[in-house]
């Protein structure tokens, strides 16, 4: 048996629906159709009345989820693409994110954002919005990079009492497979050492973890040991694990698929520079998408975001190779 990242997301939702009567799913085409990416395939049938098609009204969809959460439910919202959450943005950042702080009433909504670039998708179906949401107090932002995390973190997202922005990477949907779903998982808030190494720490998350691992593999054959840290969630961000890794390697490269200004890589760099300055043997570096919209054509798209190739170059530079 093998299970894809996408199937893991479906399975997590099926389990959440089965185990917790407070859970329901709301979003465009999530019902009988099973969602644009089939992440809710068959769920409407398996859980009648609990997987519901919405109008094309992102603001009202997220508002509805907040109300339902106030009333004790655990809604899972699917945005058809992460990019479209921009029109539901206000309800997320000003309503969901502030509710607990203002009233002490928690707001357990999970908002699934099919995110990230795939070739041919262009400026409006490729965005990574984790930095935008992480900037706001009151939100948890998860960025699972593995099938296992896609499954367990989504279950955790539903279980925790705070609003969660669940960034699932569309490129990983089909490309990533696991043999089975493990029973246990690390809790959100803990980063994972995806590969151990002593020469350089690469901090990554979501799809970039796999690019980083490919680089680690490549450089290992040349005798350089790269440690890859998978952040798993970018808010909270596990600075301790990053710092411990940098303490071991003395060198830091942060990689993010999103735009550079104020992105995850900026936040990681700022933390390490501020709190782990003495651990660094070389200037910390970062690699991000270029500062333009995400291009449509595969040639441009491949050059726009970091890839194993550009990460390898940056890693070699940083290592003086």
């Amino acid at each position: 048996m093998s299970i894809t990242y996408l199937e893991a997301i479906r399975e997590a939702q099926a389990r959440a629906l089965a185990e917790d009567p407070r859970v329901f799913i709301y979003g465009q085409d999530v019902g009988a159709f099973g969602g644009a990416f089939k992440a809710t395939k068959n769920l409407a049938e398996e859980f009648p009345g609990r997987v519901i098609d919405s109008p094309i009204s992102e603001d009202a969809i997220i508002g509805l989820a907040i109300g339902a959460a106030i009333d004790g439910m655990r809604p899972i919202i699917e945005m058809q693409f992460a990019d479209f959450s921009s029109v539901g943005f206000n309800q997320v950042i000003n309503q969901a994110a502030t509710l607990y702080w203002r009233t002490q009433v928690p707001c357990p909504v999970t908002i699934r954002l099919p995110a990230g670039g795939t070739s041919g998708s262009g400026p409006f179906h490729s965005q990574n919005m984790e930095a935008i949401y992480a900037h706001y107090p009151g939100l948890v932002v998860m960025t699972p990079a593995t099938v296992e995390d896609a499954y367990h973190m989504l279950l955790e997202a539903v279980a925790i009492d705070d609003p969660v922005i669940f960034c699932e990477h569309k490129y990983l949907y089909y490309h990533l497979k696991a043999d089975k779903l493990p029973a246990d998982a690390m809790p959100t808030g803990k980063a994972r050492i995806a590969r151990e190494g002593r020469d350089l720490t690469i901090v990554a998350y979501s799809a970039m973890v796999h690019e980083a691992l490919a680089v680690a593999e490549e450089l290992a054959s040349e005798g350089t040991e790269i440690e890859v840290v998978d952040l798993r969630s970018v808010k909270p961000l596990d600075t301790d694990t990053v710092m411990a890794s940098v303490a071991r390697t003395g060198r830091l490269l942060c990689v993010g698929e999103a735009w550079p200004w104020g992105g995850v890589t900026a936040e990681v760099m700022a933390r390490v520079a501020g709190e782990g300055f003495g651990l660094l043997d070389a200037p910390p570096q970062r690699l991000n998408a270029k500062d333009t919209p995400v291009p449509y054509h595969p040639n441009l798209w491949a050059a726009h975001r970091p890839t194993a190739r550009s990460i390898a170059t940056a890693a070699r530079n940083l290592l003086g190779l």
Binding site: L64, V87, N90
Partner: protein
Amino acid sequence: MVQTVASPKAGAVVSTFRDEYTNAFRWMLLARTLDDKFAGLYRAGKIHGGVFLGRGQEALSVSVGLALRKGDVFAPLIRDQAGRLAFGEPILDAVRTYLGSTLGPMRGRDGNIHRGRPREGLLPMISHLGAMIAVVNGILFARRLRNISGVVGAASIGDGGTSTGSFHEAINLAAVEKLPLVLIVANNQYAYSTPTSRQFACGDLVDKAIGYGVDSQTVDGTDLSACLEVVGEAVKRAREGHGPQMVVARLLRLCGHGEHDVADYVDPKLKQSPVGRDCLKVAEEHLLQQGWADARTIELWRSEMVQKAEDAVATVQREPAPDPYEEDWRALSSQRLLEAREERPG
């Protein structure tokens, strides 16, 4: 939350229309008195930030608060002092939030009309107009998922607020889901300084209802009898399962947008027209005309309300202001997901 210490109806069972009207009038009077008190405190520099009053909108607002019952949901806006009180919001919640007392529901974190008790069905507005309607939808949707029926959710919106995308998405969604939402549109002729001619181009805001496929009514917002009846009927119909109901009231904002605003842009003709009548005065005259109360009784009520307002303010003024060192400065409820990297206030 419906019965509170501050309740001026003193436990009486409302049975006749006379009683209902009188009861409503007393809530209106309390709301107006409290609003006047806040205006006074504002002028005296005792309030941080703005003060936003419901002057002229009490008849409409109180009708909402009275038509709802325990278990219902209410998302008031900035001119709903009367409706809040009638729905059961303690006077102290209002005063504590305006003065920033830590004992209030917002504990100094949020202020003025940004207050509520979501667990008790009173939603704390965010400022973004139109944004609360969808939240009411969500509660109603959740009830239906749990097979709880007979619940109504009311949301307020102004003439200006109808221009927001949020308004549109939420009422449309409520119609699609056939939720028991009652949308109370207070057309008070202005959105801050902007007249309705710059806000919409339909004949009457009630015309919008047909485009959503929801039932609707208009009402003279200066006439308490009419408001009680029309709003009451809308709430009843929603409760009976007829889907969303829209009530559009004609009235005039009898104050500035906030107390900082002298509102000299308001058309004097409107002030002199029927729409410019003060619903509280109209109701008082009605009481007198009908012989439901005499002038002396009303005077007594007035003093009673002043006393309530003064007492509440006096109480709250002795209460502690927030202390930044006591504040826990966390926006997440999940303790284990907090990052405690920020230092204490320096």
